[in-house]
């Protein structure tokens, strides 16, 4: 009797070990890349400020991470993740944590099958979030710095990933989410794929494009961003000049320009990141008084971007880079 | 009209003014003749001001006023201003307004809808200022004048208005004896020269006795007596309306009304 019991226990233990270790084996790897799928590697050296000190990397929990809001310990692989950050939602689904997510905020519109709720990204409510009984909350915005302490008080770990200022910073966030959700390999794969895609796109830019300038429009009142912002960093590989740089006298990164300034600077490319919020298109821009004298308007070098894709820092930045490279190539061939 | 020799110009007929049911002026009737000086007398709060204001558009709940035969309820705004000039107890003297412009306000009823002055309006104002000895004051700020000077400026506006009836509410409050007399003499000479009927509320009964042709005594909104000063300003009536210490003395044929303290207390 006793001998059969021991065998049973041993079998169960082996089974548990086998199941625990098969997490990453079940994650679908990105189709086109052969990545470093070794499950024992440390996080890729592109991590900057987000250190990950883990007891184990992928084979199990608990895990402790140095999130921007401090040390966060996650006891078990989270299966009820609530994301009230549209970017984090995109990242979670991209790295393979999609089926661990139970609720996302009302503005998380990508991917389409994310479980959208009426949680608010801008004025989050502890109680509303707690109603989903989460075991991990990801947010990008804590308006009164009260949400995270409140979540901690009810024992829910929270990670604050607000807008990074560089692309590397974004990669570090994705990797950190990978570790936090037990999808490290998936995260690393996504990071590598994105970086490669961006580099490949930029590699196709001919030398004639060097020195061209661009204007990035955030809203119709001419708020723009400089090369010192995240988007500016994404576009750094194009080696284009940002016309807003000279206007940003206090280094804030998001100066408001004037019509006179933009017309006078005459950028080669205009990028509209206010198509969804504010209905701006190449046509509406051409109608603005005096703008039709700009070469970009004249030759139609206006890119209408999807606001969300252009303002988030998820894996879709590869698509952004692609769009922009496409426009540059068109411009170069038009000038040829 | 009674035996005063004046042709009726203003008629107050059963005038009543009531707020929330309680009457402040209760069924007051009297007539004022052309060129006559009619005094409206009574204690504080008797309703004198309210009564006078009904002649210039103030609230009236019952009865009516007619001037030169036309019922005032049929006469609006400008037309009424052609007939009645009004000086309240405490006239407003706007800071920065010149004496000339203040007097020119009297011409408003004669101007068009936008109150644009004509050459004749300007000429009339200069004439009026000259008649009151105010020519050198024309560019002075009305708010900078003394009490006596402002009274003359008020009269300038009244004269410029050229209305046959002048309604005055306490023309001499807060003036000393000399200024008081001066102002009343001025009004009297204006009245006589221009044939204006003056209806004035007065607190000074002695002055009323000397200057008014006829008076009305009002107490708590009701008419207690109307007639010549000799008929109305009798000691018994005055003691009833005012207080028992009132004494009426005759000096050279004119009544002097004083209030005498008990002998013991003097």
């Amino acid at each position: 009797m006793f001998y059969k019991l021991t065998l049973l226990v041993a079998a169960l233990a082996l089974l548990a070990a086998a199941c625990g270790g098969s997490n990453d084996a079940t994650d679908p790897p990105p189709p086109t890349l052969s990545t470093s799928s070794s499950t024992t590697s440390a996080p890729a050296p592109t991590s900057t400020t987000l250190a990950v000190t883990t007891t184990t990397v992928d084979s199990g929990f608990p895990v402790t991470i140095d999130a921007p809001n401090g040390r966060v310990t996650i006891a078990e692989r989270p299966m009820r993740i609530v994301s009230i950050s549209p970017t984090s939602t995109e990242v979670l689904f991209a790295i393979g944590a999609g089926d661990q997510v139970v609720a996302v905020d009302s503005l998380s519109n990508y991917p389409a099958d994310a479980p959208v709720s009426d949680l608010s990204a801008f004025s989050p409510s502890v109680e509303a979030i707690a109603a989903y009984d989460p075991d991990l909350v990801v947010l990008s915005f804590d308006p009164d710095a009260g949400l995270i302490p409140a979540l901690e008080a009810v024992g829910v770990p929270a990670i604050l990933h607000s807008g990074p200022s560089t692309v590397d910073g974004a990669y570090a966030q994705w990797e950190q989410l990978g570790v936090a959700t037990g999808n490290t390999a998936g995260a690393l794969a996504v990071v590598a794929a994105t970086a490669e895609a961006i580099d490949a796109a930029y590699a196709t830019i001919p030398p004639e494009a060097e020195g061209m300038s661009y204007y990035w429009e955030l809203d119709p009142t001419l708020f723009s961003l400089t090369s010192a912002t995240f988007v500016g960093d994404v576009l750094a590989g194009t080696r284009m000049a940002n016309i807003a740089d000279d206007a940003d006298t206090d280094g804030y990164g998001y100066p408001q320009l004037t019509a006179e300034y933009v017309i006078g600077a005459n950028p080669d490319l205009i990028m509209l990141a206010d198509t969804l919020c504010c209905g701006q298109t190449a046509a509406t821009v051409a109608e603005r008084p005096g703008w039709d004298t700009m070469t970009a308007v004249d030759t139609g070098q206006i890119i209408e971007l999807n606001d969300d894709a252009a303002s988030r820092w998820g894996p879709r930045i590869a698509l952004l880079a692609d769009d922009i490279v496409g426009a540059i190539l068109e411009l170069v061939s038009a000038n040829a | 009209m009674k035996d005063t020799g004046y042709e009726t110009l203003v008629s107050f007929d059963a005038v009543t003014v009531a707020y929330n049911g309680s009457p402040v002026v209760d069924d007051v009737s009297f007539e004022v003749g052309k060129g006559e000086w009619f005094g409206v007398l009574g204690p504080n709060g008797a309703g004198k001001s309210t009564l006078l204001r009904t002649a210039v558009g103030g609230t009236i709940t019952g009865g009516g006023i007619s001037i030169a035969g036309s019922g005032m309820h049929a006469v609006q705004g400008k037309s009424r201003a052609h007939l009645v000039a009004y000086v309240p107890q405490r006239p407003v003297f706007p800071i920065g307004m010149s004496v000339f412009d203040y007097a020119l306000l009297g011409r408003t009823p004669h101007m068009g809808p936008l109150a644009t002055e004509s050459r004749s309006d300007v000429t009339i104002v200069w004439e009026v200022l000259a008649s009151l000895g105010l020519t050198s004051f024309a560019e002075r700020d009305v708010a900078s004048l003394s009490g006596g000077e402002t009274q003359r400026v008020s009269m300038a506006r009244v004269l410029a208005q050229r209305a046959p009836v002048l309604v005055l509410d306490e023309a001499t409050a807060a003036l000393d004896i000399a200024s008081q007399h001066e102002v009343l003499e001025l009004i009297d000479s204006i009245r006589i020269e221009n044939g204006i009927a003056v209806v004035s509320a007065m607190h000074d009964l002695t002055a009323a006795a000397q200057f008014c042709d006829r008076v009305a005594l009002i107490d708590q909104g009701r008419l207690r007596g109307v007639g010549s000063p000799k008929e109305v300003l009798r000691e018994d009536l005055l003691r009833e309306v005012f207080e028992p210490t009132v004494r009426v003395i005759d000096i050279e044929g004119s009544q002097v009304i004083v209030s005498m303290r008990d002998k013991e207390r003097r």
């Binding site: 801008f122 809203d219 119709p220 009142t221 000279d246 206007a247 006298t249 100066p255 408001q256 320009l257 004037t258 019509a259 006179e260 300034y261 017309i263 006078g264 005459n266 919020c277 209905g279 298109t281 509406t284 008084p289 005096g290 703008w291 039709d292 004298t293 700009m294 | 204001r53 210039v56 558009g57 705004g77 009424r80 201003a81 009645v84 000039a85 009004y86 309240p88 006239p91 407003v92 706007p94 800071i95 920065g96 307004m97 010149s98 000339f100 412009d101 203040y102 306000l105 408003t108 009823p109 936008l114 109150a115 002055e117 050459r119 300007v122 000429t123 200069w126 004439e127 560019e139 708010a143």
Partner: protein, 350 residues
């Protein structure tokens, strides 16, 4: 007999010429200023070229011409219009309420416009999706509704349809509308930046379309206020005495407030709530030239236009290429200027 009023009470011709000169001068200076530099000769040449029967080659390329005539000029013209209208409206309010601290936003026009703008920004559709931009329309309607509410509230007081009652009603209405606006902003906090930007006022987005939009309302407003200037002088002696002079104070007040508000609503709709102009300009003119509205109204119109154009020049240059919101500039230059004028004058009461 003299047929002319005393010299010191007249509207001196050289005041008018001086004010007009100030206006023209400020317009010219404003044309020369901007983050994109255009040579002075080019600016003047281009302006002269526009005169009929004159043809001059200003030597400017298309972009410079576009900046000059599509960006700067409409903004300057709008500045003149807004400044003149707010100043005239301010003079009208001051005259009608016998209060030198009255301004066009006194009866709730400003609060109403702010609420309308907030509603449009928070709940309105994209401006490109409609035939007309909902924001100016909402602001315009809001301004008018604010004043109407003040009148309804003021007139509901049985015994006191006086100027003071109306002012109190206006204060109450403005407070209520502002509170509603604040509440809506909190509920839609992502709109905060846009709403505050609008409230601080700006001529930056001024275009010829905006000018065309406001001109009809402004012209009507200015004509009525200008025509009513002498009636404001009559109102100065108070409602009772004005009534005895054959003027109907409540009716005059209503008409002047209505048309002053019409102009205010129109300019606020396109340029936001630019403050201080409506108080400072007429009051300063009063201190310098005397209290008659015959003089204050026409001069306020000219000086008001110049004042706002100058304020706009400062807004554009002091931290170029960043633009300071014009409401901030008007407050910053208006307040000390006013203090200086007040101290060097004979002093003014209410």
């Amino acid at each position: 007999m003299n047929a002319a009023r005393p010299a010191s009470t007249r509207l001196r011709w050289w005041w008018v010429v001086g004010a007009a000169g100030l206006l023209v001068g400020s317009v010219i200076v404003s044309l020369m200023v901007g983050s994109f530099s255009i040579p002075i000769g080019g600016v003047l040449g281009s302006v002269v070229d526009r005169l009929p029967f004159v043809s001059v080659d200003a030597g400017l390329d298309d972009r410079a011409e576009a900046i000059l005539w599509q960006v700067r000029m409409p903004r300057i013209v709008l500045g003149v219009i807004v400044g003149a209208t707010l100043s005239a409206a301010g003079a009208a309010y001051q005259g009608v309420f016998r209060n030198p601290l009255a301004d066009p936003y006194l009866l709730g026009a400003g609060a109403g416009a702010g609420l309308g703008a907030t509603l449009a920004i928070a709940y309105g559709p994209d401006s490109a999706g409609w035939l007309i931009d909902p924001l100016p329309l909402a602001a315009f309607v809001g301004a008018i509704v604010g004043v109407v509410l003040a009148y309804v509230l003021g007139y509901s007081v049985r015994s006191g349809r006086t100027a003071v009652t109306l002012i109190l009603a206006g204060v109450g209405v403005a407070a209520f509308l502002t509170a509603t606006q604040t509440f809506l902003q909190q509920r839609n906090s992502e709109t905060l930046r846009e709403v505050y930007g609008w409230i601080l006022g700006s001529l930056a987005t001024g275009s010829w379309a905006d000018v065309r939009l406001v001109v009809p309302y402004v012209v009507i407003s200015l004509v009525v206020v200008f025509a009513g200037r002498r009636l404001m002088d009559v109102l100065a002696v108070g409602d009772v005495e004005a009534s005895s002079l054959g003027v109907q104070p409540r009716r005059v007040r209503l008409v002047l407030v209505a048309f002053a508000t019409l102009g205010t609503a129109a300019v606020v709709a396109v340029s936001g709530l630019i403050g201080f102009v409506g108080i400072i300009v007429p009051h300063t003119v009063r201190i310098l030239t005397g209290a008659s509205y015959r003089i204050i109204v026409p001069l306020s119109i000219l000086v008001g236009g110049a004042f706002l154009v100058i304020a706009d020049v400062i807004a554009r240059t002091v931290q170029s290429p960043y633009e300071v919101p014009i409401g901030v500039v008007t407050a910053f230059i208006g307040a000390p200027f006013f203090a200086i004028v007040l101290r060097t004058s004979k002093g003014v009461g209410s």
